[in-house]
């Protein structure tokens, strides 16, 4: 390529420097700054907030939706969305709980088969992954908008949950230790759900930033046709992220039933909103191609910290809905403003 050196040097364009670059970075760390500010302000107002046990508390609350949120991050980066995760949490929770020795239900349909805990968990995770796989296949084969397709599976899976449980809760008498460990146990003083969450964040971060499949995920969301014409397997990658999210939603369902020591038809309801809020607050753009797993980690913690603070200050739990919604609206508004600035 030595002879290209004689080519005219480009002088026509003088792209934005300095400030423009700074903007991008500001965008990426904005959620982190918000979280730090929140912690500082809340810590100043209420010393109880800064205690280690309170942090663990927040982490425990955040972990379950957080596991879903990091999976959702990858789906949203591909330009998709999955509204069915809440139903998946419920179904997987019920299926796993019913397979564990010691679970009881008034419904005849619920499995009489009892499995060892690890096997039951595997079955549950497989069910979650299967739902995700179906989502991915519907979206890639029929080209239905992901939001409509997963709205359909959301209803469908909820229906399966009703069918399976007959509307009766599944309880434990007693819960095996192995199962209790998943939601209620601790490893080296850290609650098990938090450990699961940390592992999920680490794995998905590595996958998205350090592996070629992650690069493909970003490329597909940024420009699906360019990705395809670069030889990337667009459909296969999409199916993979939905399946992964289904699996993670299943994991969240298992942890949740263990923590609550019961499974019923309402658990998981609305989780898709909390997860999506966390992802968007974390700076992942709903238009695809931009975002990060770490951002979503921060995003779900922002939601968690706000909820925790509201609790500490004795605010009614109801106001948390309003706050979550407002934070989501604020986050997507900031994303919109950032996109606007990029365009000009």
């Amino acid at each position: 390529m030595s002879s290209t050196a004689q080519l005219d040097r480009q002088v026509v364009e003088a792209p934005k420097r300095g400030l423009a670059r700074l903007n991008i970075q500001l965008e990426n760390i904005a959620s982190g700054i918000v979280l730090v500010l929140l912690v500082i302000v809340l810590g100043a107002v209420s010393p109880a907030f800064l205690s280690f046990s309170n942090f663990l508390d927040i982490a425990r609350v955040v972990a379950i939706t957080g596991i879903i949120a990091v999976g959702m991050t990858l789906v949203i980066i591909t330009g998709g969305i999955d509204l069915s995760v809440g139903s998946t949490v419920g179904l997987v929770g019920a299926v796993t709980a019913s397979l564990v020795a010691g679970s009881v239900s008034d419904n005849a349909l619920v499995s009489g088969v009892k499995l060892p805990v690890p096997l039951a968990v595997l079955v549950g995770l497989a069910v979650g992954a299967l739902i995700g796989l179906i989502n991915g296949l519907i979206i890639t084969r029929t080209k239905i908008e992901p939001f409509m397709a997963t709205l359909g599976t959301m209803i469908f899976v909820k229906g399966l949950l009703y069918l399976y449980t007959g509307g009766y809760p599944i309880t434990f008498d007693p819960m095996p230790h192995g199962y209790a460990f998943l939601g209620q146990g601790a490893m080296f003083g850290v609650p098990t759900p938090v450990v699961f969450f940390a592992v999920a964040v680490a794995v998905l971060w590595w996958l998205s930033r350090r592996m070629s499949v992650g690069r493909a995920i970003y490329a597909i969301g940024g420009n699906p046709e360019a990705a395809r014409l670069s030889g990337l397997k667009v459909d296969r990658t999409k199916v993979f992220v939905y399946t992964l999210l289904g699996l993670l939603a299943g994991l969240a369902g298992i942890i949740l039933t263990s923590r609550q020591a019961s499974a019923d038809t309402v658990i998981g309801t609305g989780f898709e909103l909390i997860a999506i809020s966390g992802v968007v607050i974390g700076g992942t753009s709903l238009t695809g191609g931009r975002g990060s797993v770490i951002g979503s980690l921060i995003g779900v913690f922002i939601v968690g910290v706000i909820q925790n603070a509201l609790n500490l200050f004795g605010a009614s739990t109801q106001i948390q809905y309003v706050v979550t919604g407002l934070v989501l609206l604020l986050a997507i508004s900031l994303d919109g403003i950032a996109r606007r600035r990029r365009r000009t």
């Binding site: 390529m1 002879s3 290209t4 050196a5 004689q6 080519l7 005219d8 040097r9 480009q10 002088v11 026509v12 364009e13 003088a14 792209p15 934005k16 420097r17 423009a20 991008i24 350090r210 592996m211 070629s212 499949v213 690069r215 493909a216 970003y218 490329a219 969301g221 940024g222 420009n223 046709e225 360019a226 990705a227 395809r228 014409l229 670069s230 030889g231 990337l232 397997k233 191609g289 931009r290 990029r342």
Partner: protein, 524 residues
Amino acid sequence: MVASSTPQPLLRMEGITKSYGNVQVLHGVDLEVGRGEVLGLLGENGAGKSTLLNVLNGVIGREGGSVLIDGQPVEFAGPKQAQEAGLAFIHQELSVLPYLSVAENIFIGRLPRRKGMPWLVDWASCYRRAGEILERLGVRIDPRTMVGRLGTAEQELVEIAKALSMNARIITMDEPTASLTEAEIERLFTLMRQLKADGVSVLYVSHRLDEVGEICDRATILRDGKIVTTVDAKTTGSHALATMMVGRELSELFPKTEHERGPETLRVSDLSTPKLKNVSLTAHRGEILGLAGLVGSGRTELARAIFGADPITSGEIFVEGEKVTIDSPGAAIRHGIGLVPEDRKHQGAVLSMSNAQNISLACMSKVSRLGQLNRGAERQEARRLIQDLQVYPPRAEQETGRLSGGNQQKVVLAKWLFAGSKILIVDEPTRGVDVGARAAIHGLINDLAGQGATIIMISSDLPEVMGMSDRILVMHEGRVAGELARKDFSEEAIVMYASGLEPTTSGPEPAVAGLEPTREGSNA
């Protein structure tokens, strides 16, 4: 300069300036259109035509200069105000709404209202008036028909009817003949002459220079955002117009480097898809094979079929003598084929990713092991290519979306260099690219061929395809209509083949740069 046909021109634009960001697109443009005049506006891609038309029609604002209609200065806050002042804009991309009726499309935003109840639509009057206008145009379309059921030519007539319904005095037509057949073009010209007779002025943009001579009174030539000159369209030949547009003698533009033509690298035999009929071709090491033809003649479809982007119904592809099965872009890449698509923004680069990430995209396996990316090696390779290709600014971590069009195109080319493509298909590589980058890209393509790559270059820009290629295949209606060796290159021969005719020695004035670069039906 030729004086305007009337003492007081209907439209006068003076000293129009406009820039996007730091790039000045219009540098004080002056333009006059007389009453009942058809003025051709000519210029290469990127000369500033679209910007000028958008300024005139109130789509975008201008920075300096004035627009006068009947000698009165006018200011448009938006397209609506421009319409009210008697301007109509028929876009290259038709903007009809398929689910609405013909009548409603004609009166979009200005539906007739009931007397006394101005919030109600007067449908009877709407259909009647639409019928009258269509009648005046000699068009037999029921105004109640849904526009989606009409053909493209009919949809274009609906646009013209819309302009007339607004009592437009100045109609801007941006490449109206791009997707029309000969008979339809003739019909359009008859219509334009009728408009002229009614005192309506037309600002006519086309790349078909023969058409300009046929329908326009005068032609104004725009180059690099400045007016070059205004000439009498009837007496100025196509070749002269083309030279004025380009600003240099064509032969000077493309210093052709001769390469040794090596052994055959690609052979396509009897390739068919819904858009292609038994296409066969061969290409060689070190050769630049040009693909010319009209819009929709199947050039882009051929490129996409060879690359595995669209399914083929029959035919065989051989790479370096071996029969290969290419059913996906991935398979094509494994066989050393690369494609620089025509629509850079939507198909070429992932604008939200960095240059390094775009460059490694088609061959991540080169810098990864077991799926793990080695980002250091990736950046290093990318930096080397960025330097070689003189991408500006020369940063691997720069987001590609923030580069200029020409530099984005270089990044896409770098992607295929990184992937080690031996057969590179480039589809309109310099469309929408500024002059400097254009020369750089041409140089790069020449270099690649010199290093032994096989290049297949699709271009609607005749001087470009003739200047660059060693051999040209001309396509017509999904077939290869003719093949020209470099010594036989002539604009006339290409145009004849492209129109489905055999070249003759004495023909009409050749249309230089006449294969207009418009949408190519690439999404088919």
